[in-house]
Amino acid sequence: MSGQHPSTAHATPSFPWQYVIGFILSLVLTVIPLWLVLDHVWKPTPLVIGILLCAVLQIFVQLFMFMHFTHGDGNGPAYQTVILSIGFFFAIIFIGASIWIMSFGYQVQ
């Protein structure tokens, strides 16, 4: 069954710099919004934009540093690219539609 199991690659690993850098970046991108909120650094509108920006950067860090977005295993198409694109599509819909659905609150206030 060798070759069939995507999980069993036995190459000798070199030091995983990519993961370490990714890890640090993801921590930084998490701490920044927390600090922005806790210390009331910005007004609401720039604050929301700042948080969203960090979130989007975070997505890219996760995809490229950890999740091998573009790597295939040389064995059939790189399905993960398709699946992750669907993921992007749904994420945009969920966020966009949620803003649309929930914005009725402003009329009440």
Binding site: S2, H5, P6, Y79, G87, I93, F94, S98, M102, F104
Partner: protein
Amino acid sequence: MNPIPHWGIFITEPMILGSDVMIVLVSVAIVFALTKFRKWGWLWREWLTTVDHKKIGIMYLIAALLMLFRGGVDAELMRTQLALPNMTFLDAEHYDEIFTTHGTIMILFMAMPFIFAMFNIAVPLQIGARDVAYPYLNAISFWMFFLGALLLNISFVIGGSPDAGWTSYPPLSELGFSNGPGENYYLLALSISGIGSIATGINFLVTILKMRAPGMTLWRMPLFTWSVLAACILILFAFPALTVALALLLLDRALGAHFFTILHGGDPMMFINLFWIWGHPEVYIVILPAFGIFSEVISTFSKKATFGYGSMVFALMAISIVGFLTWVHHFFTMGSGADVNTFFAIATMVIAIPTGVKVFNWLFTMYRGRIRMSLPMMWAIAFIPCFAIGGATGVMLAVAPADYQYHNSYFLIAHFHQVLIGGTVFGMLAGMYYWWPKMFGFLLNERLGRWAFWFFNIGFYVCFLPQYALGFMGMTRRIYTYPSGLGWTVPNFISTIGAYLMGIGFVFMVWQIIYSIKYGERDLTGDPWDGRTLEWSLPSPAPHYNFATIPTIQGRDAWWLAKQGELSKADFLPAKDELKPIHMPKNSGRPFILSLWFFVLGLGLTFGVVPMDVIAGIGIAYCLFRRSFEYDTDYYIPVDEVIHTESALGRLQG
């Protein structure tokens, strides 16, 4: 966290005291039996540490049936309380707990493991694989589900069950209204088992995309496998929304955040929005595999290829995409505005189109087929009228202005039971009867199964049709009693009779299983139904490694074509000189132990016992650490052993 455990409840309530005693007695009996018959080692080696998809499937099945029983008892208790006006069989608090655990258990701990049972049992065999893509992860998924389910189930006897409904809307589920540990149980049990569900979604997605036998192109895959692919896409993108909703609510309760409180800028409506971003796809997650099973069963028992294979695949995919665009229909009455409601109402109605296509395809498959009325086929045929009514009432609910009338009435209750029982449960039972011989090597008794079928079916209509009327008469969901003189008494009483009939049906099913374990006819051919897909080319039960040599697939329903002489049957039997050592994953106890730590963590968080959380956290980290540095994860079955097994089965060629 700020829980006030109702320790007193341990002894004051006779029902809970009774359950305590029962649980202790049953546990003692199990421990005693395992010790007496020296079965501890067997239990550990064969089940607790297994990574074999066939065994994991069986464990999912047993768990699902147990949870069907537990949820069913809840249902009978509720129906008893509602049988007549002004009953005092259950008080309000108790009734609230029971409808909450009933819904939660039936969706997450009955329907989900039941579909996962079918995934595990059938998918690798149908696509010609020896296991799933990540067998170790598969074991983790199972044990996370199992211990998550256990966590919710013990809430009844330790500290009190959640009582804010299976939807757990804030503010009711916030500390102000649910101050006990019950709601914590709910949040943690669902979070833990949710990890398992997401992992299963990924696992089967990869399995189906990457592990198919040579020649098994996507367009040659059996429709059940297609339905699993569609369901996995739904799981992958829907479950994270639930995880987020539960995590934020947990933060509100445990750390005093204000995501869903009215105070300090929170918004309870956001929970409802997040919950249904998951919740609507979830109903399709549990129905699509049932659709897949109906396709397999109806084509097998009509001896015809499924009518409109391509349109079936297209419909599955369309449902899995459009299924993500309908969630607001669960809260039209929130009042997001006419534009929002219109969009989601239309999207909801659009889903009925591919669903209708599938129903017509099943009918055309049966048309002029040679139909055999065995148990799987009976459940499949019973599904069609039931789902037609459920779909039609769904479309009625989807009319946003009309939904202001129906919403949260018994009309809604009748709708979703019609699709969940008539769709998912009928489907899973059809699948269970269909693949039972493949799992266990014997057939289930047909006569007892027919009794179960008729009691359950007739009971179903008697129970739920009156509820549509009750909805129109103004009866709302989640009320624990009602006065006389509203005209509700007769329909409620009839409905309760129906619930009891279904209970009798379930008892027949248990009887059938126990009877067949003793006297069931053995399946010596491996192909008792004259099947079409690959799993029926294997002996029953399939050997540990499934396929001695991986067959090369030359058509859709290849096994059927081989039996018709259009393809060579020899392709499906191993030839002695072609055998090679078989690469298999090793068993591991860690998935079980890891999940036990999660259970301890969940219990600790539920009651706010910090040392317990710290210890469990260390345990989890240690398990993950050990796994990261483990290289000895697989082994080879030597050719001799394969020859031995295959010739004992009389399958070896040359």
